[in-house]
């Protein structure tokens, strides 16, 4: 087990290094000089060449690429993600504001999708061929096809504009005003969850149908265990590995989703921070944000991989 975890950690570490090189190069190989862009943004005209050089030195852009990369990594390891070009704020503090918001929506959506999807998947598998199964399967097929930004606007139209039940945009921390916060997050969380629910439901259904054929399930029924025990202890437990993998992968898909959902509902989370930074060419934010997000995704997948060992003791020996 220790060897397995160690190998996985090493693997994850290598991937993070490659990711950081990608991110670094992506920003440096861009057309356009960030310094000129900054001046353009700040509406500074008639710049002396010396000032330009000074700014370049200030941003560290005058050194060779490899030195710039190592400096950047060194700063990150010391907790300094750089400064936003236009907001003149430390990126770590910008992320500190937006990350909890996305995490709030993401964790809620992950929890809700897992609960709803596993329940729906079990029902659909156990009642295979019934109208309930057809309904669940059709809904999942529609769920993976619907553009979530469109779904968000549809919900806004129905529950915000038409019925006036829910606020149509904004975000309030649950610690400030729990009621308002809950009302505000309902629609975004529903939008974020739809795709995950569809995928996890499908996986649960097919994985249970696979397991239920096994002899040990028949034995469990034959020895007179009740339905709940057979399903939870024997069937579900053995179907969990593919489901867990998929739930792990949803972290990445929820971050993608939050880019769209936060734009629709005007929520100041990580997704919208990235969109704003990209469109305003605030490269340090993009760079820091992407690196953090990618590292987060890798760590989450690592945790899922390690959890296999706990879900299925046989994996220890591989």
């Amino acid at each position: 087990m220790a060897r397995y975890i160690l190998l996985r950690l090493l693997h994850g570490f290598i991937v993070i290094i490659i990711v950081s090189i990608f991110v670094f190069l992506m920003m440096r190989l861009l057309p356009g000089d960030p310094v000129l862009l900054y001046l353009d943004r700040a509406a500074i005209v008639n710049v002396e060449p010396e000032t330009l050089e000074k700014l370049r030195a200030e941003f560290g852009l005058d050194k060779p690429l490899i030195v710039q990369y190592l400096n950047w990594i060194n700063d990150i390891l010391h907790g300094d993600l750089g400064t936003s070009l236009f907001q003149r704020l430390a990126i770590s503090s910008i992320i500190k504001q937006s990350f909890p918001i996305t995490a709030h929506l993401g964790i809620l959506s992950l929890l809700i999708s897992s609960i709803v999807a596993i329940t729906a998947g079990i029902i659909s598998a156990l009642k295979r061929g019934s109208w309930l199964d057809t309904l669940v399967t059709s809904l999942t097929n529609i769920g993976v096809s619907a553009p979530i930004f469109w779904l968000g606007i549809l919900l806004i139209y129905l529950f915000g504009v038409h019925l006036k039940w829910l606020p149509i945009y904004g975000y309030t921390s649950p610690f400030e005003n729990l009621w308002l916060s809950t009302k505000q997050v309902i629609m975004p969380v529903v939008c974020l969850s739809v795709i995950s629910i569809s995928f996890i439901t499908r996986q649960t259904r097919s994985s249970i149908l696979e397991i239920i054929k096994n002899d040990y399930v028949r034995t469990a029924w034959a020895k007179g265990l009740n339905e709940r025990t057979v399903i939870t202890r024997h069937v579900l437990k053995n179907s969990l590995i593919p489901i867990a993998t998929l739930i792990g992968l949803q972290v990445s898909s929820i971050i993608s989703g939050s880019v769209l959902v936060e734009t629709v509902f005007n929520i100041p989370g990580v997704g919208r921070m990235m969109v704003n930074a990209l469109f305003s060419h605030d490269y340090p934010i993009v760079q820091g944000g992407v690196l953090l997000i990618a590292t987060f995704v890798i760590v989450m997948n690592l945790l899922v991989d390690i959890s296999y060992g706990w879900l299925d003791p046989r994996i220890r020996y591989t």
Partner: protein
């Protein structure tokens, strides 16, 4: 007993042979949703090709006298902020979605297949390098990666296609590599080597065609996902620049006039959903017809 009868008896002993194509078509069209999906895809392709003939108005013609009209007999879905006919724009929008979807998936699949084939066949360091690079690309949430590439390259049809293609390379590379690794143990590969076939020949003539069933299903599913992603990019404003009608951008533009005419925003979304649904269903049908064991993998 006549001779003819004797022959008939023999036929009954062995199960009737159906040709592979007929079996494929029979399984493929056995589900109604798959038939529905095929019809939708065909109809959308025809709509895209013949858009100028079908659309009642020019999609980019601005008519300020008739802006923000409610759906009526002349404008079935009403008009937008600039007085452009929404139905015509939805019809023309199919061009952008299908074009980008098909071209981006072709590039992404070709590149991914090439990398996966190389990694799986050669193995060793090459495999490790290619696959770690793919892992690194996979660590970026899909839409974020394409959004970053698209905004950095600047908006435009070509750059959207590049961004979407890069985003799907890791998926195709992993899939192809997995197939190659399972196929490479087969005797016909050994036979090919024994006969002195070059590595390139083994890869292209023996391995690649045997990966096709899986890849065809993946390509169909990816067409749906890519059209969805393109709509997302264009919704955020990183797609094909205006005034070219694109479904995602139309959803976003119509949002501000949601209370006046919800069809402005909702109709193009329905078009996206319909097309993506169709590709997903046809992908499902292809999978069941080509290789039902793929259920759960794809």
């Amino acid at each position: 007993m006549t001779i003819k009868h004797e022959i008939e008896m023999k036929y009954e002993e062995t199960p009737p042979r159906i040709s592979e194509t007929r079996r494929f078509l029979k399984v493929f069209f056995s589900r109604k949703v798959v038939v529905f999906g095929s019809i939708v895809i065909l109809a959308m392709i025809l709509t895209a090709i013949f858009a100028p003939l079908i659309a009642p108005y020019e999609p980019e013609r601005i008519d300020m006298a008739n802006r923000l009209l409610q759906p009526n007999e002349e404008h079935w879905l009403g008009t937008d902020f600039h007085g452009r006919d929404t139905l015509s724009r939805v019809i023309f929008g199919s061009r952008v979605s299908l074009l980008i979807g098909i071209v981006a998936v072709s590039f992404g699949a070709a590149l991914g297949m090439g990398l996966g084939l190389t990694a799986g066949y050669i193995g060793g360091y090459i495999n490790a390098i290619i696959m770690r690079l793919m892992d690194a690309l996979m660590a970026f949430p899909g839409l974020l990666l394409t959004l970053i590439i698209a905004t950095m390259l600047g908006s435009g049809l070509r750059n959207v296609i590049i961004a979407l293609s890069i985003g799907m390379v890791p998926m195709f590379a992993r899939l192809t590599r997995g197939q190659v690794i399972s196929l490479i143990e087969n005797d016909y590969i050994l036979a090919g080597r024994a006969m002195g076939a070059s590595s390139l020949r083994i890869m292209l003539v023996h391995l690649l065609p045997n990966c096709f069933p899986v890849l065809i299903v993946a390509v169909t599913m990816m067409l749906g996902m890519t059209i969805l992603a393109e709509a997302g990019l264009s919704f955020l404003g990183a797609g094909v620049p205006p005034p070219t009608p694109a479904w995602g951008a139309m959803v976003s533009d119509g949002y501000r006039d949601l209370s006046t005419n919800p069809a402005l925003s909702l109709a193009p979304g329905v078009a996206v959903m319909l097309l993506v649904f169709a590709f997903n269903m046809v992908g499902d049908g292809l999978r069941d017809a080509l290789d039902p064991r793929l259920r759960g993998i794809l």
